[in-house]
Structures are given as structure tokens and as C-alpha cells.
Amino acid sequence: MHPKPTDLPRPTEAELEILAVLWSRGASTVRDVHAEVSRRKPTQYTTVLKFMQIMAEKGLVRRDERARAHIYRATRPQAWTQRQIAGDLLQRAFGGSAASMVMGALAAQKASPQELAEIRKLLDEYEKGTK
């Protein structure tokens, strides 16, 4: 069964923290996730466990119960969740132009591969020149 994007609830802030850990680490035990989350802010192990159980019920994460320590993984990849959030009407209409309202170190428009190659070359040359 593959739920459509609308079938899954949008993750809350706390849930997103846990999902972020699962996305970056891959499948993890609750202990691993707790270790990671407590680096952000001090959290009880049981709190994380409770959250992850709720998320499993919601379908945000899947639990693999074959091992002694249950292993959790995110049901959907980061890009999917990103699309889900970006699917919000306002974001769909104005998400693109929102870039003109924020300040960023990088342009809203992605650099082309040629441009990246050019920058790579510039950096290499600079490094050679200073050595």
C-alpha cells in the first residue's frame, strides 16, 4: 500500500526533527535517534520513544521489529516531504517568488554545471597560486 502524499499528515516540528535524523542517518534505533536529538536540545529517551511510536501509527516512519532493538526508517524520503509541504497552495503559487523576499548567500537560481566547473577551476587555480 502506497499512500498518496495527502494520506500522510504533515509532520510537526518535533516530528520533523526526528525525520531529519532518519533522513541523514538512514534506518536507526530509537537510541541512535535520541542521541542525535539530544545534541539539538536535552530530551528524555522516553519522549523520543513516545514520539516515534506515534509517528509509526501515523505512518510517517516504519518499524522493523525483526531485530531485538526495533529499527525505524522514514516512510517517505526528504524530497517527498518537501514536496508535500511545498504543495500548500500559497507555496505552490508564490514559493518561487518568495526568494525575492528573503536574503540568501546564494541566488534563487541554481548555477549551471558549466558555471560550477568554472568555479571549481577558479578555486583550484587560486589554491595553486597561494601555495
Binding site: 531529519a20 541523514s24 536540545k41 509541504i85 528573503v102 536574503m103 587560486y126
Partner: protein
């Protein structure tokens, strides 16, 4: 649609139109100055300041121009005189509508509406973008690890940011960015903080902190507002683009100044850029933030090709300057269109005394009808060139004295001759044909020539030459038949020759009608037009019911100035009046002239906008047929002092209970003296007055 039309033709919209027009060259000039400044300035901060100043100057230029053009004291519409029905002389304008060439004033008419539409659209779009940006803070975000929160506080202290800065991780953001002014937040993509070497993360954070310290978020909001307001000018977009580019350069410089390691920072930018997800993203407006160029600048590498003055914006700049310059010439002319070329309508073909005065007089209408029977040879030749040459639309001022004009026309219309198309054409078109055309037409011999003339007559007025139908011709005859069937109020006279019929044919259906015909004391009908091209103003006709017929009066905005007459002799005019035959009126023998009118003094009022000079002669204490001569002489003006620039000879039926006789003139600037002679036929009493006045 009606409200839009009203607004488009309002003085405010006109002021806006001219402001938009003038900003074309103002904006181009400011951008030009910025081009020169940028060529001289190297440091990013100075370049940024120059671009900011340029954008501010553009906003100020627009605001000041608008303030100058704005109608702070618009004329309010009121009825100029409460003249009773029976004794007025209305001024009537015939507008020879030639094929109208494109005029800048036309563009200016529509520009404000389109501009406003654009501004509202852009602002709504910006509002949506802003709301979407605000959501980036809340949707799909979580606080960054405590360690980085702490580090941001330290870096903020180093960077000189005093406000608390939140550090968020977002699964929506693709690049690190900064949102908010009062409660600023730095939003980084999930995984960036953990995935990059700490020094590189710090470099990126310092860049965003530099934005916070410089209040760039707030400045960008103002910038967007100005950009949206002046969106139609490419120079504005270019200046705004320079600002965005230099703003990033400023932040780059400040990171390098704090960290001291150029390569490390450039490498951080490169890594973040490369790590952006390859997934196609929604189309974004290019912000002209070329990363390769930025890094080259950071590393002190010479630009491979100097694009500091980009080709496209410069071309756009040149075009807008050219357009503004091209428009500059016709512009004053376009404004002059408002002052119609008035033509002497007297029967004497030696029509207008050239240029020295804008107008000459309007003679009584009776003198005005085609009186000369067809004249032989040369006439045909003179008719042709006339038809071909006469290019510009002529605004012709003439006076409808009273119903005699209609009666005359009607007589022609029903006379046996009129069975032929000859007189039919003249009577049909009597409200729009110019005197020159009329003279030319009456001199034509054969019906072929007349047909040809009629064809050309309509062709000249065709708004869309070449089209299968002539909308002017069709509309004219539609109105003529409508007027004939709807406004026939007197016996068998056709409705086209009654006052409302006349107004309907000339100006079409009014925007507003007020019916006071059941008012026993002053039965009248008001027709209001929101805008009449002939007057460049709104206009109101008052049709006063007299018996079964109407007489009309045109009401103008209130006068700018009113001058009152004084008792004075006018012997030459008195003599002229006395020498005239009395036209079969049984009149008392002539008496010696009395200085001063029997009732109140005569006045000259000058109405705004045209400017229109209105001579009013109160008829209190007079009754029966009253002959009037009004004469305007120059005291000092563009013409020779002492010259008579306008004169009117008319008569009215006075009731003895008041009323006013009026006549209108259009005069050039200068000082004048108006002289009035009134003769009451029943008693033979003659009264004279004169009024010194000035047209400014």
C-alpha cells in the same frame, strides 16, 4: 465602464499620466548618472550606496513630479449663471472631426489605468511572495542543534548584530537564507550544518548575519515597493538589479573581513551551491546574482569580459531615452490641443485674423448661413485643394442665437430644392461642417462634384481610414435620425433642430439626465456629460423649456475671475447701432445713450481650463426686444493695442423681470476692455458700459 471612463478623464488621472510620461526621461537620466558613477567607483559599498541613492532619487523624482502635476484645486462643477430661460445666448462648439493623428495626450489618457492595473497586480504578487517567505520560517522547520544556536550568538556578537537571531533547519529551503527584520531568523536546509566543515558553515552564517546587520531585509521590502511602483521603466529594474548584486558583494566582503580566509569562504559557497538538490525547482526570477562572477571578484581574478555595463539594460536605457525625447516634442503641442483653433464664423470669408489672437468674434448666427448663391469658375478649384489640404481637426466656436437658426435650417430642409441632395447634405451636417467646407460646397456646380465632396467630407472624418465602414458617418446618421424622432417638440419641426436634438447629435447621449420640466417657474432639463472632448472637461447643458421648445445653455466650472463693468460711453458703437435698420421692429425714436446699464453691471468672467471669457449682460429693467453689441478690444496683448479682437451683435427678448444675455470668447493672454451697448427697442433707450479685464 462608465466609472472607468470618468476616472480616466479626471484631472487626477491626467496628472498621473503626465507624471508617468515625464518619469520616462527622469528615470533614464538618473540611470545614466548611475552608469557614470559605477564606472568610477570600485568598492562594493560605494557602488551599493550609489545604486540605493539612484533608486531613491527615482522614487523622489516620481513623487515630486506627481506633486507638481497634481490638481490641488480642481474646479468644482457649478452652474455659472442662474439665467432664466428666455434670454440667453449659448455658446456652442462644433468640432470638425478630422482623421485624428496619434497624439501623446491620448496615450497619457490610458496610461494611468494600465499603470494602476500593473501596480496592483505586482503588489498582490509581492504580497503573496512575502507571505510564502514568512511561512518558510514556520513550515517544515525545527530549531538547529543547540551547539549551532550558541555559535550563532557568538558570531552575531562578532558581526555586530545586537538583535537575537534564531537559527532554524528547514526541509523546504534549498539554500541558507535569512528572513525577518524585527525577529530575524537564519534558515538552513536540513543537513547543511552537519554536512559542511564548521569553518565553512560559519562563513555562510556570517554572510547571513551581515544581511541582518545591514537591515537588508527591510531595505529589500522598500526596494520591492519602489520597483513595483515604477515597474514600467526598464531603468528601474536595472538599478534594482545593481542593488541586489552589490548587496551580496558587500556581505561577501564583510565575511572575508571577519574571517580573513577568502578561499575558505569561496569554497563554502561552492560546496553549498553544488549540494543543492538536482531536482527541478519552480521557475524563479533570475536575480542577476552570478555566483561565478562573485567568486572571481572575491579571489581577485580579473573579469574575463567586462560585463559591468550589461548590454541589454543599456539598450533598454537608450530606447527609453529616445522614446522620451521623441515624445518631448509633440508633448507641448498635445497640450495645446486643448486650446482650439477658433475660427471666425462670420460670413466674410476673410476669416481669422492670423495668429495674433486665438479667436476672433462670433457673429450672430444669421450672418452665418450660406448666403451666397453658387459662384462661377474659380470656385471649383478652390474647393478641391481645400478638401485635400485641411488636415487638422478644427474646433469652431459659434453661437446659436436662438431658434432662428433652426428655423432657417428647417426651411432649407423642406424647401423644394432640398429634394435634391444638395441642401439636404448641408442641413444634415450643419452642426459639424466647417464654414470653409460650407463655402466650398455651396460653390460646387455639378452633382458629381458634390458627390465627390460629400465622399471626401466623410472620409476626412473617418476614424479608421480604409475600414469597410465609416463609423463616424454611421454614428452621425444614427444620432440624426434618433434626434429627429425623439426631440421633435414643436409642430412639424424635426427633432434634430431642437436644442436637445442638437446636443445629442454633437455629443451623443448624456451620462446623466435631470428632468425639471415639470418645474413651473423654471422648467428645464439638465444633460450632464462626464467628459466632452471639445471642452476637455465635464459639461452640463441646461435646456430651458419655452413654450413647446427648448433653449440650451452650457454650464462651465466656476470662473477664475470676475470683472465688473463701469459706466462708460461708447459713442461709436451707439452710432453703429442707430445706423442699422430696425428690421421692421416698431421702435421708439433713438434717445441719447445712458452710461451704465439700468440694472446691475455687466460682467466678464473667466472660466478655467480653456480659458473661456464669458461676457454677461444682466437684463434687469429691460423688456421687449433688446439689441446687444458686445465688443472686446485689446489693451495690451500679443496683438496691436486698440484692435478689436471680438465683437458680437445679437438681440434677445427680455421679459422685464431679469435674466442675462451671455456670449463667450476665447482670448489670448493680455489686457482687454470689453464694451457693451444695449438698446431697448420699445423705449429706444440705449445703455453703455465697459469692463477692463485681463486674461492671465
Amino acid at each position: 465602464m462608465n466609472a472607468l471612463n470618468l476616472w480616466i478623464h479626471s484631472l487626477r488621472a491626467e496628472a498621473l499620466g503626465w507624471t508617468l510620461f515625464h518619469f520616462l526621461w527622469e528615470g533614464a537620466a538618473i540611470a545614466g548618472a548611475l552608469v557614470l558613477l559605477l564606472a568610477a567607483l570600485k568598492p562594493a559599498r560605494a557602488r551599493y550606496a550609489a545604486a540605493c541613492a539612484a533608486l531613491l532619487a527615482m522614487a523622489l523624482a516620481f513623487g515630486i513630479t506627481l506633486a507638481v502635476e497634481w490638481p490641488w484645486h480642481p474646479p468644482q462643477f457649478t452652474i455659472l449663471t442662474g439665467a432664466p430661460a428666455w434670454n440667453f445666448t449659448g455658446a456652442v462648439f462644433a468640432n470638425g472631426t478630422g482623421a485624428t493623428p496619434f497624439r501623446w495626450s491620448d496615450a497619457v489618457t490610458w496610461a494611468p489605468a494600465l499603470w494602476l492595473l500593473g501596480v496592483v497586480g505586482l503588489y498582490l504578487y509581492h504580497l503573496g511572495s512575502w507571505m510564502a517567505a514568512q511561512r518558510l520560517r514556520r513550515m517544515g522547520t525545527c530549531l538547529a542543534p543547540e551547539m549551532w544556536q550558541r555559535r550563532v550568538r557568538e558570531l552575531a556578537a562578532i558581526a555586530g548584530v545586537s538583535r537575537p537571531v534564531a537559527l532554524l533547519e528547514s526541509c523546504l529551503a534549498e539554500v541558507p537564507l535569512m528572513i525577518g527584520y524585527l525577529k530575524p531568523a537564519i534558515v538552513t536546509p536540513i543537513g547543511l550544518l552537519a554536512g559542511l566543515p564548521p569553518e565553512q558553515v560559519e562563513a555562510i552564517l556570517l554572510h547571513e548575519l551581515a544581511h541582518i546587520r545591514r537591515a537588508d531585509y527591510l531595505i529589500n521590502l522598500f526596494q520591492t515597493a519602489v520597483e513595483g511602483l515604477l515597474f514600467y521603466h526598464p531603468a528601474v529594474w536595472w538599478v534594482s538589479g545593481v542593488m541586489r548584486a552589490e548587496r551580496e558583494n558587500c556581505c561577501d566582503d564583510s565575511v572575508v573581513a571577519l574571517q580573513g580566509n577568502v578561499h575558505q569562504y569561496a569554497a563554502a559557497l561552492f560546496t553549498v551551491e553544488r549540494s543543492r538538490s538536482r531536482a527541478p525547482q519552480s521557475a524563479l526570477a533570475a536575480t542577476g546574482n552570478n555566483l561565478a562572477r562573485r567568486i572571481r571578484r572575491l579571489l581577485g581574478q580579473p573579469e574575463s569580459r567586462d560585463l559591468s555595463l550589461p548590454v541589454l539594460p543599456s539598450a533598454l536605457l537608450l530606447v527609453s531615452v529616445a522614446v522620451a525625447l521623441a515624445a518631448w516634442q509633440p508633448a507641448p503641442a498635445a497640450r495645446q490641443v486643448q486650446k482650439p483653433v477658433d475660427v471666425l464664423l462670420a460670413a466674410q470669408p476673410a476669416a481669422p485674423e492670423p495668429a495674433s489672437f486665438a479667436i476672433v468674434a462670433a457673429e450672430p448666427v444669421r450672418a452665418n448661413e450660406p448666403d451666397a448663391p453658387p459662384e462661377p469658375p474659380a470656385a471649383q478649384q478652390s474647393a478641391r485643394p481645400q478638401a485635400a489640404v485641411q488636415p487638422a481637426p478644427l474646433d469652431v466656436t459659434y453661437i446659436i442665437a436662438d431658434e432662428e437658426r433652426s428655423a432657417f435650417l428647417h426651411q432649407q430642409a423642406v424647401s423644394p430644392q432640398s429634394a435634391t441632395g444638395r441642401w439636404q447634405f448641408l442641413s444634415d451636417t450643419s452642426f459639424i461642417i466647417t464654414p470653409e467646407e460650407r463655402t466650398a460646397y455651396t460653390k460646387l456646380q455639378t452633382s458629381e462634384e458634390q458627390d465627390k465632396f460629400i465622399e471626401q467630407f466623410w472620409a476626412r472624418r473617418n476614424p479608421t481610414p480604409g475600414a469597410p465602414t465609416n463609423s463616424f458617418h454611421d454614428e452621425f446618421y444614427r444620432r440624426l435620425s434618433y434626434a429627429a424622432s425623439h426631440f421633435a417638440v414643436l409642430g412639424n419641426r424635426t427633432g434634430a433642430y431642437t436644442a436637445p436634438g442638437w446636443a445629442y447629435i454633437k455629443y451623443g447621449p448624456p451620462d446623466q439626465i435631470e428632468d425639471h420640466t415639470s418645474d413651473a417657474r423654471n422648467p428645464s432639463l439638465f444633460w450632464r456629460y462626464n467628459y466632452l472632448e471639445a471642452f476637455h472637461n465635464k459639461a452640463e447643458f441646461q435646456f430651458v423649456k419655452v413654450g413647446e421648445n427648448y433653449r440650451q445653455q452650457l454650464n462651465f466650472p466656476p470662473p477664475l475671475a470676475i470683472f465688473t463693468g463701469v459706466r462708460a460711453a461708447a459713442d461709436d458703437l451707439v452710432t453703429a447701432l442707430n445706423n442699422e435698420s430696425r428690421q421692421g421692429q416698431s421702435a421708439a425714436p433713438a434717445q441719447a445713450a445712458t452710461t451704465g446699464l439700468p440694472g446691475t453691471h455687466a460682467t466678464i468672467s473667466i472660466s478655467p481650463e480653456k480659458p473661456m471669457v464669458i461676457l454677461s449682460v444682466p437684463l434687469d429693467g429691460l423688456s421687449g426686444r433688446v439689441d446687444v453689441i458686445g465688443q472686446i478690444r485689446a489693451v495690451s496683448s500679443t496683438g496691436a493695442p486698440g484692435a478689436t479682437v471680438a465683437s458680437v451683435r445679437d438681440y434677445v427678448q427680455a421679459s422685464g423681470s431679469g435674466g442675462t444675455w451671455q456670449s463667450n470668447f476665447t482670448l489670448a493672454h493680455g489686457s482687454y476692455v470689453g464694451r457693451v451697448v444695449v438698446r431697448e427697442n420699445a423705449t429706444g433707450g440705449i445703455y453703455t458700459e465697459e469692463i477692463n479685464f485681463e486674461v492671465k
